[in-house]
């Protein structure tokens, strides 16, 4: 059986579909403003109130959702290749949890003057994610194929540990500081200040650019360290560069949103089924599809039980949980 391969035309088509998904996501929400109002904003003929809602509230939020989705899906694809394990995902591995812990510690302990800085939370989240990686790779040690059970158990334990500390800070910390971060453990999107959005977008772009430049190397690393080395990859150094880049984008995604699970699992699997495993095509496909997926999931979270908003993490977990179990079952049956 040969896998379907789309290549460049497929990516262009996916880009169009994703752009359409973002437009749809901007056009739905609590206030009755739709596609027509969106069109008149871009034509310059709308009143300031609906303009504010559509641009500062909805567009900013959809752009954050898209960035978070692109980041998590790309990071998932990268972890899966490097760990040679299709069940790896920033949430399941505990990297998202580590990032959330880093951001929480920053919110709790940073000087009041630094708390609002757009780079503070993402960089603290990156420190948390990097610390998680050291634990994870200390156990896995790059060598051979990481046993699925060891990896999953480590992720479970790290997640439990990180959640406990996060709960401690949120409960015992200054309530004023933690306003709006209550749903951190079940990631939720808000309309971000433009500064925060810009910092998340820039960090994500840097990380994805590094991953994209290493896309071909990811193909080789997915064959295993020894073979990758014999095909010319400086394995140890490259692996660190890739996992750090994946963790940077994870941290950027988590910093203002919290933990949105399973995107890094669902999207890469769907994209591999559509485009095949070549990361030179797979990574851009994951970024595009991840952006659309989280934007649509958040649109659903905003409208399903309106006027109440669900955390977007509820939607992704409800879909992602069963998806993960199916993959795990299939894998256990294979071995």
């Amino acid at each position: 059986m040969s896998a379907r391969r789309g290549g460049t035309p497929g990516l262009l088509f996916l880009a169009l579909v994703s752009a359409a998904a973002l437009v749809v996501a901007v056009s739905v929400g609590a206030s009755p403003l739709g596609l027509r109002d969106l069109a008149s904003v871009f034509a310059g003929g709308s009143d300031p109130a609906s303009r504010a809602i559509l641009v500062d509230v909805r567009l900013a939020r959809v752009l954050l959702a898209a960035t978070v989705g692109a980041a998590l899906a790309s990071a998932g694809a990268a972890y899966q290749a490097v760990l040679r394990n299709p069940l790896a995902d920033p949430f399941i591995l505990g990297v998202s949890g580590g990032a959330a812990l880093g951001a929480t510690v920053f919110v709790a302990l940073s000087p009041a003057s630094a708390i609002g800085s757009p780079l503070g939370r993402p960089l603290a989240a990156f420190a948390g994610a990097a610390a998680t990686l050291v634990v994870l790779f200390g156990l896995a040690r790059f060598r051979g194929r990481t046993a699925t059970t060891a990896l999953l158990l480590t992720g479970v334990v790290l997640n439990a540990f990180d959640s406990a500390i996060i709960q401690f800070f949120v409960t015992a910390g200054d309530p004023a500081r933690f306003q709006g971060t209550l749903a951190y453990l079940m990631g939720s999107l808000t309309s971000p200040p433009w500064g925060a959005l810009a910092s998340v977008a820039v960090l994500t772009a840097i990380g994805i650019a590094v991953l994209a430049a290493g896309a071909h190397t990811l193909n080789l690393l997915s064959l295993g360290a020894e073979e990758a080395g014999q095909l010319g990859v400086a394995v140890e150094r490259t692996t660190w560069v890739i996992v750090l880049a994946a963790s940077l984008v994870t941290a950027a995604a988590v910093a203002f949103t919290g933990i949105v699970g399973f995107i890094g699992l669902i999207v890469p699997h769907a994209m591999r089924a559509a485009f095949g495993p070549d990361h030179r095509v797979l990574l851009p496909a994951c970024a595009l599809a991840g952006a659309a997926t989280v934007a649509l999931a958040d649109a659903a979270a905003r409208t399903l039980v309106a006027p109440v908003e669900l955390p977007v993490g509820v939607i992704t977990a409800v879909i992602g949980g069963p998806f993960f179990l199916i993959l795990l079952l299939r894998r256990l049956r294979e071995s």
Binding site: M1, S2, A3, R5, Q80, A81, R84, N85, P86, R145, A212, A213, A215, H216, T217, N219, L220, S222, L223, G224, E226, E227, G229, Q230, L231, G232, V233, A234, V235, R272, G276, P277, D278, R280
Partner: protein, 262 residues
């Protein structure tokens, strides 16, 4: 200028506390086809791993075309030596053509994009190994023998002046064993790489190789032309078996008939 393709001098290596090689000396000349023989655990695969930089010698020196392998970067190493491993287990559904094109990796630029020349080389290698009809099939869906032909094609695609093959014919049927050796001999005659074949098929190695190296317990028992290496005494000592030596009716080279374990 004409340093040998591969040189081991005084190489010692072990996994943990188990010594595998102790003070091994071995030279492979350019353009030579050498069969590396010996019982399980003799250290043959370890030689392949040391020569390709997958593991580093504890002491002694491994040279690739005159340069210490430890000082070469991974990319430069992969431009000098290609390895055909016994097996590979991709976790994703790569096609045969994608696996073969990975052989171009050490020659690609920053973004790792292949050009028409890279694709042509990969296609040529698939034709040589008679797997071009499998190009779009999923690698994981193929048989062990087909895997070995794909890995051979990938090594040819790498275009190195030294090829190391670790039991490349273990899963092949009789016909494809002959095809694989023919491919290697023709490749050497065309492009002239040195080729080292780790094999348990003593008789095919005797037929096709210029030189045989017989190992046991991390040391070389005999090395030289097939006539000189495949003697009753040397085979007996290396493998702990009683054999009779006949002649290959096709080539007149020695032909080993195993009789009984010792």
């Amino acid at each position: 200028m004409s340093a040998p393709a591969l040189g081991f001098s005084g190489v010692t290596f072990g996994y943990g506390r188990t010594p595998v090689l102790s003070g091994l000396d071995l030279t492979i000349d350019r353009g030579e086809i050498v069969g590396l023989l010996g019982p399980n655990g003799a250290g043959k695969t370890t030689c392949v791993r040391l020569a390709s930089g997958a593991v580093a010698a504890v002491s002694g020196r491994v040279d690739l075309f005159g340069d210490d392998v430890a000082t070469l970067g991974a990319r430069e190493r992969a431009r000098r030596v290609a390895v055909v491993p016994q097996e590979t287990h991709p976790v994703f559904e790569f096609t045969v053509s994608e696996i073969v094109r990975m052989g171009r990796a050490p020659h690609l630029g920053f973004l790792g994009l292949e050009g028409p020349k890279d694709r042509e080389l990969a296609h040529g290698a698939m034709r040589r190994c008679a797997i071009d009809h499998l190009a779009d099939r999923s690698f994981r869906a193929l048989s062990g023998g087909e895997h070995q032909r794909v890995l051979l094609a990938r090594a040819l695609t790498q275009g190195t002046p030294l090829l190391l093959l670790d039991e490349p014919t273990a899963f092949l049927d009789i016909k494809h064993r002959l095809v694989a050796y023919d491919v290697l001999v023709r490749l050497r005659d065309d492009a002239g790489p040195a080729i080292v074949i780790v094999s348990h098929d003593v008789n095919l190695a005797a037929r096709y190789c210029d030189r045989l190296v017989l190992m046991r317990a991390g040391a070389i028992v005999a090395s030289g032309a097939p006539e000189d290496v495949l003697t009753r005494a040397a085979i007996g000592e290396a493998y702990d078996v009683n054999v009779q030596i006949g002649a290959d009716p096709a080539t007149g080279r020695p032909f080993v008939i195993p009789l009984s374990p010792r």
